[in-house]
């Protein structure tokens, strides 16, 4: 009826229409373009957002309504795969066409792979949605096969497959409800992406998740089941930070939702990760990773779907008893996609033309993270780290503000720091976290005090010059600078320095504390600076050494001697 880029108006001829249901528009060459109902205007006019390019559509093209909401297929085989925002596996699509031609759909889960199924229930057992029917081994762990969560009430097992090899589409069980209706069950089932999976029992995030990034683990941690956001202007290091988190975070499963961002970045992940070994499991890093790639040149309407799909998969693996981490890069692109559609629908715009409901959607999204206590009493979690790309790097804009209200950690990326090559360029003063650090709380306070002092003294130096401040203040300033240079800054491209284990973090903190607590009895700015330069140099050399290296202990001693040398000289005076 009407076509305006990805927004299509359609007239229904028969039957009911549900807001959120999937429809297909059949264009002239017979291709079926997937779309979602986003508005029902009157009894027979609906608006659809089309997940594909709408070129060559014309008034009068037929629309088929499926009656079903947009759903994701859940079952073994998701880990290690790369799909688009609608769960089409990209490698499978690549076998058909080089380009992402529209109207091609591929089975989300490989239906040829046979999985070794071990039943855990017997005929006659009583089950309900979420009960475990059996397990199959998937990559690193035992994948539980559930009774679909959508089945409510009590069911009795009628048949259960014997131990053996089955595909995701073969029936493995059948259950009978109270009225005697029989339902066939397979290893895979669908769940609507926009509907959060209910928690069995919810708990709060209070155990910190090591990320290998010192400034985060020490000062601005994230917890299992927690949420964090890292807004920042372009070029401040959001992407490098996300990649580092994807590689080193101590989560069981990492889901990367590349939403409206550069294709090249997703490519780096899915071409590099299979080659990288995860030191904690000894297996390929890709084995714990799932990538949803709706990159910036793919159809805009599918961005929203990609974020929700990643979250639903995350919730599913949380139900498996695992600690899942979702990296959503970038939630701003998702918000922009909503803005584009909202504008075409001619809704009355909110601030910066974003739709009024944007903050509610963002909060509801982050609320899907959390700690869950499962039926068997074990605990699992889903954490979400969302990137925000504020226009002009200005954190006052609506998406950043809504995100700040909904997340537990705030890592503000700063252009001043990235210009100074102080990576990760996370603002040392303005960032915050409400989760527990890997250090003790008083240790965190101790570091933050030094950093604040350092900042104050630095601005005094600019105003009054080095000669305008006392030696004591200058030493305090140099200590703050040193803390920044050797502890907070980290070279994420370096094999050793790029990731710091909790043990090493402790070692390094103790060393930093030793340096800060040791009185420096050196006079003159030049001398003081030189003293700290030597320490910095030795500390950086130490940072690049592996823990098991022979040199490691030697360098530590050398460093301690450097620190004490000046203190000792002073005592003699």
């Amino acid at each position: 009826m009407s076509v305006n880029e990805s927004l299509v108006g359609a007239q229904t001829t028969e039957g009911a229409v549900m807001n959120g249901e999937v429809a297909y528009i059949i264009v002239e060459d017979g291709k079926r373009l997937k779309a979602e109902v986003i508005d029902v205007k009157s009894s027979d006019v609906v608006y659809l957002q089309v997940f594909e390019d709408t070129s060559w559509m014309k008034v009068g093209d037929p629309v088929e309504f499926t009656g079903l909401p947009l759903a994701v297929k859940l079952g073994p085989g998701i880990l290690g795969s790369v799909t688009d925002g609608l769960q089409n596996p990209l490698y499978e699509l690549g076998k058909i066409e080089w380009f992402l031609e529209r109207g091609i759909e591929v089975d989300p889960l490989d239906n040829r792979t046979k999985w070794r199924f071990t039943p855990k229930v017997n005929k006659g057992d009583t089950v309900t949605g979420g009960s475990v029917l059996g397990t199959v081994p998937e990559k690193l762990f035992e994948h539980k096969i559930f009774v679909p969560f959508s089945l409510q009430g009590s069911y009795t097992i009628e048949t259960i497959a014997a131990e053996g090899e089955y595909t995701v589409d073969e029936p493995i069980a059948s259950v009978k409800d109270a009225t005697g209706n029989i339902t066939q069950l397979k290893m895979a089932f669908e769940w609507p992406v926009k509907q959060p999976m209910p928690f069995n029992e919810r708990s709060v995030p209070e155990q910190s998740m090591p990320t290998g990034i010192r400034i985060l683990d020490a000062l601005f941690p994230i917890a299992y089941g927690g949420t964090a956001c890292n807004p920042g202007p372009f070029g401040a290091g959001k992407t490098v930070l996300q990649h580092s988190l994807a590689r080193h975070s101590q989560a069981d499963v990492v889901i990367i939702a590349a939403c409206g961002e550069r294709a090249g970045e997703a490519v780096e992940v899915f071409k590099d990760f299979p080659e990288l070994i995860d030191p904690r499991t000894g297996k390929s890093l890709m084995d714990r990773t799932y990538i949803v790639g709706n990159t910036s040149s793919m159809p805009v309407a599918a961005r929203e779907a990609s974020v929700y799909m990643a979250t639903t998969v995350g919730e599913y693996y949380r139900k498996q008893g695992l600690n899942v981490l979702i990296l959503a890069d970038s939630t701003s692109r998702w918000a922009q996609a909503l803005r584009e559609t909202s504008g075409r629908k001619e809704e009355i715009p909110g601030p910066e033309a974003f739709p009024m409901y944007i903050s509610t959607l963002i909060s509801a999204f982050y609320d899907r993270a959390g700690v869950e206590i499962l039926q068997d009493g074990t605990t699992s979690s889903l954490s979400i780290i969302g990137t925000v790309s504020p226009a002009g790097g200005n954190f006052d804009e609506p998406v950043t503000q809504a995100t700040l209200l909904s997340t537990g950690s705030f890592w503000g990326l700063s252009r001043a720091l990235s210009d100074a090559r102080k990576y990760p360029a996370i603002d040392r003063i303005d960032s915050n976290s409400k989760y527990p650090s890997l250090l003790e709380q008083e240790e965190v306070t101790y570091l933050m005090e030094l950093l604040r002092d350092g900042k104050t003294i630095a601005s005094n130096i600019i105003l009054m010059g080095e000669k305008g401040i006392t030696d004591a203040s200058y030493i305090r300033y140099q200590k703050a600078e040193l803390l920044d240079a050797v502890f907070l800054q980290q070279n994420s491209f370096h094999e050793v320095d790029g990731v710091t284990t909790p043990d090493r973090l402790r070692l390094m903190f103790d060393m930093v504390k030793e340096i800060i607590d040791t009185p420096v009895n050196v006079e003159g700015k030049e001398e003081i600076r030189s003293h700290f330069n030597f320490i910095r140099q030795a500390f950086l050399d130490w940072n690049y050494m592996r823990l098991d290296e022979e040199e490691f202990e030697k360098q530590k001693t050398k460093l301690l001697n450097l620190v004490k040398k000046r203190g000792h000289v002073a005592e003699n005076v």
Partner: protein, 443 residues
């Protein structure tokens, strides 16, 4: 296919026309037929029942209600053949160099993006000979990267230099909103450099309609993509994408779209991205590298801001210099660990010291800089600017790296530069002996 002609035009705007018609396809190409028989192209951009909105390639001026619209039953296409090399085309793909029209295969314009699994991780450095690029923000094959500069900076000269000094197989110049002398300059530079027979130009100058300007990147990229699929390494130069965005704003405005920031349409990001994302290193084929120009006054303006989130960095040009701060190559990490062992470290050390120096510049304004170290930092900053920031100084990468060591040793002590002891041992120049720097050292 049956071509239908309609004459009941409803409204004519600056670049938009609306008419009642049936059976029309979204994005279909059409012809505006003037009463005197002249023709101009148009394209369907929205449908609402029988109401069809068209974008006029020739602009709305002079279009009258007694013009006819004929729908051509095909989408916008562009010719593609090797014979196009050396030729100049307009924003609708017509030759404007006085040469004959070519019989060429037609290829689709603004097609879907390549499947990410067919992309390779970019890994080949492009040597440009520009120290600020090769050392500090290395350009990598298949990168998409614009020059951010104020209007009037010599960005087109740098663009042409980079394209002709490198080993590109095919250069495609997409000129949007060029002044005539800029167009002339490109032609001249390409000919002087002996690159004409590997160059195709799609040119829109200020006398042409804005819709033609809007089409230029799509035509240039469609042709470039074909060459890349044939295994060629293609360079696409797009100058100036700020004007392109401005045209986009005008057309969106004419369609009564709700503006997002500063009047730009809400899909500015997606529109820019779908062009820049054509850059790719393609599995078992060639590559497509995009060098753009984004003129700007302020980097937080919506065009450079959105561009920065899309491209893989930017080169920031100011007062004729290529600046270190504000410039970025996101792909440099893919290659600069395989050039020379000191590359990454010295790049970071130089930058860190320069940033320290910048702080002193601020302090200097308060008259508070008196200590020796700060004064040396300020001297360092001057040397850095003079020796390295000239975008038209040609130096091989290795020489440029040596020059960096020279500059460091000229102003600093070894322990002041924050480099690992190993590197200092290997590269620190002997006292007073510079490899590249032509200056008598202090003391």
């Amino acid at each position: 296919m049956l071509q239908k002609t309609y004459e009941n035009i409803d409204s004519i705007g600056r670049a938009i026309l609306s008419i009642k018609a049936k059976g029309v396809h979204n994005k279909e190409l059409a012809e505006v037929i003037y009463p005197n028989g002249q023709k101009a192209f148009a394209q369907v951009i929205a449908l609402d029942g029988e109401q069809v909105t068209l974008q006029l390639f020739g602009g709305g001026f002079g279009v009258s209600t007694d013009c006819k619209i004929r729908f051509l039953g095909k989408p916008l296409q562009v010719g593609f053949s090797d014979d196009m090399l050396g030729r100049v085309y307009s924003g609708v793909g017509q030759p404007i160099d006085g040469g004959p029209e070519l019989l060429a295969d037609m290829v689709r314009v603004a097609g879907p993006s390549i499947n990410p699994v067919k992309r390779l991780i970019p890994k080949d450095m492009i040597r440009t000979g520009v120290p600020m690029i090769d050392v500090f923000n290395t350009l990598v094959r298949s990168q998409k990267i614009p020059i951010f500069a104020k209007a009037g900076e010599p960005y087109n000269r740098l663009l042409a230099n980079i394209a002709t000094q490198t080993d590109a197989d095919v250069i495609i110049i997409g000129g949007v909103g060029l002044k005539y002398d800029e167009f002339h300059y490109f032609r001249q530079r390409i000919e002087e450099a002996g690159s004409k027979n590997r160059t195709i130009m799609f040119i829109h100058t200020h006398r042409d309609s804005i819709v033609e300007g809007l089409m230029v990147p799509d035509l240039a990229l469609a042709v470039a993509e074909k060459f890349a699929l044939q295994g060629k390494n293609v360079f696409v130069l797009l100058s100036d994408m700020t004007q392109w965005s401005d045209y986009l704003r005008q057309v969106a405005n004419a369609q009564d779209q709700i503006p997002a920031n500063q009047g730009y349409p809400g899909d500015l990001y997606s529109q820019l991205a779908s062009r820049y994302e054509k850059a790719a290193d393609i599995e078992s084929a060639g590559s497509l590298t995009i060098l753009g120009v984004t003129t700007m006054d302020d980097v937080t303006h919506p065009v450079p801001d959105n561009t920065g989130y899309i491209t893989e960095g930017q080169f920031f040009m100011k007062d004729g210099y290529l600046e270190l701060f504000g410039s970025l190559s996101r792909l440099k990490q893919q290659v600069n660990d395989r050039t020379r062992s000191d590359h990454r470290s010295i790049m970071n050390a130089m930058a860190r010291l320069l940033s320290e120096a910048e702080e002193r510049v601020k302090a200097q304004k308060f008259g508070s800089v008196k200590d020796d170290y700060s004064l040396r930092l300020l001297e360092y900053r001057k040397t850095f600017q003079r020796e390295l920031m000239d975008p038209f100084r040609y130096l091989e990468l290795e020489d440029a790296l040596d020059l960096c060591w020279d500059i460091l040793s000229m102003h600093f002590k070894k322990e002041e530069v924050g480099l690992s002891s190993k590197l200092i041992e290997a590269y620190w120049p002997e006292k007073g002996k510079f490899k590249i720097l032509k200056e008598i050292p202090h003391e």
